[in-house]
């Protein structure tokens, strides 16, 4: 099942312990507490559940939902 932008937002919010509504699509998630460990955890989950093929560096390079969507097949 392909990822959606909303699912990305929900998962990111979940791992940051924030409300999805508080996670903007266009801002740097590092400012919201996203770190390499959390990216790895998200990536593992998405690989398992959504057959995502993006690598760690792809996500870490531009840590924002907007930038991730195409990489994660949630265009």
């Amino acid at each position: 099942m392909a990822l959606t932008v909303e699912q990305i937002r929900t998962d990111v919010a979940d791992c940051l312990g924030e409300d999805p509504a508080d996670i903007p699509a266009d801002e740097n998630l590092v400012d919201y507490g996203l770190d390499s460990v959390r990216i790895m955890a998200l990536l593992e989950r998405w690989r398992r559940e959504h057959e995502v093929t993006a690598g760690f560096a792809d996500l870490a390079e531009q840590p924002a939902i907007e930038a991730w969507a195409p990489l994660l097949g949630a265009a």
Binding site: C15, G17, N28, V30, D31, Y32, G33, L34, D35, S36, V37, R38, M40, A41, F56, A57, A60, E61, Q62, P63
Partner: protein, 1291 residues
């Protein structure tokens, strides 16, 4: 992403991240500490040739691997090579052990940054289908994340090649991108904002929590303990993290914070977090060195919950991450910590979650880190390699701070703690978690406290009465010419007791006793006890106001005094005056009384922190336990004699008075005031055959210093110490003076019946003297801030429990409730006493006293344990005893013994961090003592701090800052911009430190030589302003030690090593005169060494004439320098010049040496070491010698290898030339200084100069060895004589 091929700049500056690594390596070029290494275990077939090809290709792709780093005048530069063949060692057959050994050996090899390559590989086949791939890379070019990029790419390329395919293209980012990115950041507003953030967050400069209790420079190696968190615990950890909406690293960081807080007794904890530093950056695709370490500051409060602590970590890391590009070194510099060599963070927690699930054409690989880089203190590396084994946890420790067992203990406790935390409600207070393991907890609370001993319910006085009945005719007491038998003493005390009973004395009441030391005092104390009352000793020397307070507070039924006017008149207490009191009407037999062990035996006042003395009420049970234990431990016999010299108001006197009387021994009572007179005490001990006595350690030190003390060796059997920490040096001095006498160290507060711990000193022991183990029926607890037991080695507050606890403070319920508190470890409903002393258990169950919890001093924000400074002072060779305190915000050291204060300061500067070196050291003949024999700190004299007066205002900020650095390094205040470093007592060692500080503060290159040339803050500022390049002038033939000044210059010629730096101290003492050093040619360049001394002397004569064209000349030389000075003098005279001063410092003419074999290179190495003040130990080669000098921070180590190496050539060349030299005759007088200590070369004599000197040879003997001549105390004498002579010549 453009991957277009562009011209790559072949030379790049370093990024800030790389610069830090470069600087660390430059400090110790031969250190392998910057090596990082990893080993991949590959399970499956591997084609070594294909693997080599894969490495070749990856090397071609990764620029960082192809650089070498050169130091240039503009700073270090990385040179990028187009092609580098990867160094690869392949072993097709190796056992795992052989492979490990090879890797270990390789890891100990330093890289040569300037030569490169800065990586190497090895491949071992350790089984049919099992390979080990080892790679070592210098940390300057690679970090942990970089490894993961390299490994993944290597696997990818190998796999493709193995399938016969061309690997997919890969575009690693370039180094140029990293450099650009770095430069862009450093000039961005974000950089300034980040700087402001860190400066604000750590503006109070918190102290780094140190598990070892101290810091150290990084070592060349590290200790590692590897463990795994079980898969189950790992699972629970991840589950707990999920429940707390955190990640598992957050939870582990919180666990480490909790451990660190408890193990260092702090609530404010700063951990170091190594960060990948690549989020949202091009660096994500660059294998290279980017990582950073950032401080995470946490508050660990025993009342908070673990969930709250984890939340703090999550939010804290989030904040850190927003400012993560700012470099750790920059934060420290901004905070001024660099200069003080102060750490900002305690342990590092390094979490490496990088995805390592790689395979090589289907053969799975598992990575194992071998070295993560230098370890300053302690680094906890945590790896999640997703291999089903749980998390791997490596504890890496700096071997200068940790031993294997200590590191293992930290790891084991951490694992236990993590296990507990993952199995406990995270909303419980942190206080429920001990940091000790269950086994340690059992050890320290139970095993070490197995002291239970059933005793009969007796009182302090009962056994004395039984003894008197059994041995009535034995001598009980001796004072002056009076001796009392047990029967006599008992009868007198009984009569007085009956009189006191008639005045209301009975069990549960108090009777004051204020009688100077005498027979009557003993009788009075005994009488009070016999009456059943508790005695309250009042020192007759106390001020009236204090006596009145105590009488009012304790409300005794009466007070016994020797004279009518002993006590203040208006207290309302009934006074029993012994003088003229007739008790003959009372019966002599033991009086009846309803006394039980629970009744109070005595009340002794101690000083209260609030200024109001507090009366400690000690019951019979407690002191009876104490005396029964003492008898069982030390076995007093009827032929023993115990000295009574402690004032009765001090509780040590309790055992002095009553222990001998319970055991049939005799009490020898000292004169009032006699306890302060060592000669009197020694005489008394000898004449009265005293076998047993007590000293407060500072008084023991005084006593041992008295020549009479050794005369007590034949009679004394045992000496007890208590009341203060017993310095090991005092224990050693005791063993020397009184070799067959036992020395016992006891410890205890008045609140626990005199003493609760004991330790027998062994002359063979070293280190701090423990206070020892608990006495009978006594339990000791060392507790942390959560009231949990500290494991051995971890400091905490000492609590006491058991039979000896006092009832409490008289009439102070709030104080009792706060000091005598519920005991969570002992029998139900019992109390423990909170001592306020800081202590720790040793591994074998003794306690070490570490100081007070409330007497720490802080100086400029730095916490200082005065005890540590005192120990360092006392450990110096010529210091007998020492103490340190803070005066006017400056640390002052006081010493007794023969040591020279300036020398002491310099020696301490060598051993202690700068802030712990006293600003002044005062030498005293003896320490002032208070009435009870303790050191009286308030009576210590104020020191005089150095520093010129009338300094002009600063002309620039840089001048002001430099002046501050001078003051800091010299430890003196009031320094002005025109004061010269060496005139203010600067040593060459301090010069190295100053140069280091200037480098850090201004980022300016500066050599020691610059300081000789520009010795004042003003001159140095001008020099820095002019941005003059660093010079080698300090190695030139003419070294201006003081170029300006009045009068004719003094020329001082180098000793065998060729450097004239050793004369800095002499120049400083010849204030106002120009002084020029002459140094050997060839220290810097490729110049040939001279072939003869005459050739060398001709050169110097010419150079001297360049400074001073015509005579009269003044020449000085030490050692070989003296031989040269004589020769130069002859040459100048032969040229028609006048030489008016030739001073030879322990220099002997060539003829004396001719028949002696010239030293080999080996001896030259010894000479180099001696120049630096070291004895040669294990150094075999030049490299070894250089390593020793560097390790010790010797100024010579600041020289380049090349120069040092030249010195090793210059020394034997001088020895050779000396033996060939022929002296001619010098026309004039010689001033000679002999190092008169016995020497191996006993054939040397200054008389050998006679044939070569027409005039007198005036000699001064100095009580030192040849190398010691340049030490401060001897230079003082030399300079005094020289100055007098120069003044005569001036006139």
């Amino acid at each position: 992403m453009t991957a277009a091929v562009e011209a790559i700049p072949a030379v790049l500056p370093l990024t800030a991240a790389q610069s830090g690594m470069w600087f660390a390596q430059a400090l110790d070029p031969l250190s392998p500490a910057q090596n990082t290494a990893e080993c991949l275990e590959i399970d499956g077939p591997l084609d070594a040739a294909l693997f080599a090809e894969a490495l070749r290709r990856v090397t071609a792709e990764a620029e960082a691997l192809r650089v070498r780093v050169e130091d240039t005048p503009d700073g270090p530069r990385q040179h990028l090579a187009d092609h580098v063949e990867p160094p690869l060692t392949v072993r097709e057959r190796a056992t795992p052990a052989e492979a490990e050994a090879w890797m270990r050996a390789d890891l100990a090899e330093p890289f040569d940054l300037a030569a490169g390559p800065l990586f190497r590989h090895a491949l071992f086949r350790v089984g049919t289908d099992r390979w080990l791939w080892y790679q070592r890379i210098h940390h300057l070019v690679m970090d942990g994340y970089g490894y993961s990029l390299l490994v993944r790419r290597t696997a990818e390329v190998y796999t493709a090649l193995a399938r016969g395919e061309e690997p997919a293209p890969r575009s690693f980012g370039t180094l140029a991108e990293l450099v650009e990115d770095d430069a862009a950041y450093r000039s961005s507003p974000a950089f300034a904002a980040d700087r402001a953030h860190w400066s604000e967050r750590f503006g109070d400069r918190p102290e780094a929590p140190r598990l070892a209790g101290r810091g150290a420079l990084p070592s060349r190696t590290f200790l590692r303990r590897t463990a795994h968190l079980s898969p189950e615990t790992t699972e629970r950890l991840k589950d707990l993290a999920g429940r707390l909406r955190a990640t598992w690293p957050d939870v582990l960081i919180a666990a480490q914070a909790l451990y660190t807080a408890r193990a260092t007794a702090r609530t404010d904890v700063v951990l170091g977090l190594p960060m990948m530093g690549r989020m949202g950056s091009v660096a994500l695709r660059v294998p290279g060195m980017v990582m950073n370490v950032l401080p995470l500051r946490l508050t660990v409060d025993p009342g908070a919950t673990f969930a709250e602590l984890v939340r703090q970590v999550v939010l804290g890391i989030r904040e850190v991450r927003r400012h993560q590009r700012y470099r750790y070194e920059d934060i420290r510099r901004d905070l001024g910590l660099l200069g003080e060599s102060r750490a900002l963070v305690g342990p590092l927690v390094n979490v490496m979650p990088f995805d390592y699930g790689v395979d090589f054409a289907g053969a799975p690989a598992r990575a194992r880190n071998l070295s993560a880089g230098p370890v300053d203190d302690l680094t906890v590396n945590i790896y999640d390699r997703a291999d089903g084994r749980g998390l791997r946890i490596d504890h890496d420790g700096n071997p200068a701070l940790y031993e294997g067992t200590g590191l293992a203990a930290h790891q084991e406790r951490f694992l236990h703690l993590v296990d507990r935390l993952t199995g406990t409600d995270p909303h419980a207070p942190l206080a429920v978690h001990p940091v000790a393991t269950p086994a340690e907890r059992d050890l320290v609370t139970e095993e070490f406290n197995r002291t239970g001993r059933a005793l009969p319910p007796t009182t302090l006085v009962g056994p004395i009465e039984s003894r008197a009945a059994r041995t009535p005719d034995a001598t009980a007491l001796v004072f002056r010419d009076t001796a009392l038998t047990y029967a006599e003493l008992n009868a007198r005390a009984n009569r007085l007791a009956r009189h006191l009973q008639s005045l209301g004395a009975r069990p549960g009441t108090v009777v004051a006793v204020s009688v100077p030391r005498s027979v009557e005092l003993v009788v009075a104390l005994l009488a009070v006890l016999k009456a059943g009352a508790a005695y309250l000793p009042l020192d007759p020397e106390y001020p009236a106001q204090r006596l009145a307070y105590m009488l009012g507070d304790a409300a005794p039924v009466c007070a016994v005094t020797d004279r009518a006017d002993r006590l203040p008149a208006d207290t309302g207490t009934e006074v029993v005056v012994l003088d003229g009191l007739d008790t003959s009407g009372y019966a002599w037999t033991d009086p009846a009384r309803a006394l039980t062990p629970a009744h109070p035996a005595y009340v002794i006042y101690t000083s209260g922190s609030t200024g109001r003395p507090k009366g400690v009420v000690v019951p019979h049970r407690a002191i009876d336990n104490r005396l029964r234990w003492m008898q069982a431990e030390y076995g007093l016999t009827p032929d023993d004699r115990v000295l009574q010299k402690t004032p009765s108001s001090f509780d040590v006197s309790v055992w002095e008075f009553f222990w001998p009387l319970r055991e049939g021994a005799a009490l020898v009572v000292a004169e009032p005031g006699g306890h302060k007179d060592p000669a009197y005490l020694a005489r008394l001990i000898r004449e009265r055959a005293v076998t047993t006595c007590h000293f407060v350690p500072s008084m023991l030190q005084v006593f041992l210093g008295a020549p009479e003390a050794a005369g007590c060796a034949d009679v004394l059997r045992r000496v007890f110490c208590s009341g203060e920490a017993l310095p090991r040096e005092t224990a050693h001095a005791f063993a020397r003076a009184l070799p067959d006498v036992e020395l016992h160290n006891l410890y205890g507060p008045t609140e626990a019946a005199v003493d609760v711990t004991y330790h027998a000193c062994d002359p063979a022991d070293a280190g701090p003297v423990p206070i020892g183990r608990p006495v009978w029926n006594t339990r000791l607890y060392v507790l942390d801030a959560a009231l949990q037991p500290c494991p051995p080695g971890v400091p905490g507050e000492l609590y006491l429990a058991g039979a000896q606890l006092a009832d409490g403070y008289l009439g102070r319920p709030e104080l009792n409730a706060a000091r005598f508190v519920a005991d969570p470890f002992g029998p139900a409903g019992t109390r423990m006493y909170r001592t306020g002393d800081l202590a720790r258990w040793t591994a074998d169950g003794e306690v070490e006293y570490l100081g007070r919890t409330d007497h720490q001093v802080k100086l400029r924000g730095q916490r200082i344990e005065l005890g540590e400074i005192e120990a360092a002072l006392a450990a110096l060779p010529e210091v007998d005893a020492a103490c340190a305190l803070v005066r006017e915000d400056r640390l002052v050291g006081y010493v007794t013994g023969g040591a020279d204060p300036a020398g002491v300061r310099a020696a301490l500067a060598r051993e202690l961090p700068e802030h712990m070196v006293p600003a002044a050291v005062v030498a005293l003949d003896a320490f002032p003592l208070s009435p009870n024999g303790k050191l009286d700190r308030r009576a210590l004299p104020a020191p005089v701090f150095a520093g010129a007066s009338g300094a002009r205002p600063f002309s620039s900020a840089r001048e002001e800052a430099l002046t501050g650095l001078f003051a800091e390094v010299l430890g003196a205040e009031g320094i002005g911009p025109d004061d010269a470093f060496f005139d203010l007592g600067g040593t060459s060692l301090l010069a190295v430190r100053l140069v280091g500080r200037v480098r850090e503060a201004f980022g300016a290159e500066l050599t020691i030589g610059s300081l000789f040339e520009a010795p004042t803050p003003a001159a140095l500022a001008a020099r820095l302003d002019a941005a003059a390049p660093a010079s080698d002038d300090a190695l030139g033939v003419v070294l201006p030690l003081r170029a300006d000044g009045e009068g004719l210059p003094l020329f001082v010629i180098h000793p065998a090593g060729g450097l004239a730096w050793c004369y800095a101290g002499l120049a400083a003492r010849l204030a106002g005169r120009p002084v020029y050093g002459l140094q050997a040619r060839g220290l810097t360049g490729d110049e040939e060494l001279p072939r003869t001394l005459r050739e060398e002397a001709e050169d110097y004569a010419a150079r001297i004439r360049e400074v001073q064209p015509h005579g009269p000349y003044r020449l000085v030389g030490w050692s070989v320098g003296g031989v040269l000075a004589h020769t130069v003098a002859v040459l100048l005279q032969e040229a028609g010049e006048r030489v008016e001063l030739l001073a030879l410092l322990d220099a002997f003419p060539s003829g004396q040496w001719r028949e002696r074999p010239a030293p080999e290179e080996g001896d030259a190495l010894t000479a180099v070491l001696r120049m630096a003040g070291f004895d040669r130990t294990g150094e075999r080669t030049r490299e070894d010698v250089l390593a020793t000098l560097r390790a010790a921070g010797s100024p010579l180590a600041g020289l380049t290898d090349r120069t040092l190496s030249r010195i090793v050539d210059i020394v034997p060349n001088h020895a050779r030339m000396m033996r060939a030299h022929e002296h001619r005759v010098y026309d004039g007088d010689v001033l000679f200084f002999t190092a008169a200590a016995p020497r191996a070369e006993d054939w040397l004599t200054r008389d050998a100069w006679r044939p070569y000197v027409t005039g007198r040879i005036d000699n001064l003997d100095l009580d030192c060895t040849h190398p010691q001549l340049m030490r401060d105390r001897y230079l003082d004498d030399i300079a005094a004589v020289l100055t007098a002579r120069l003044k005569e010549l001036d006139a």
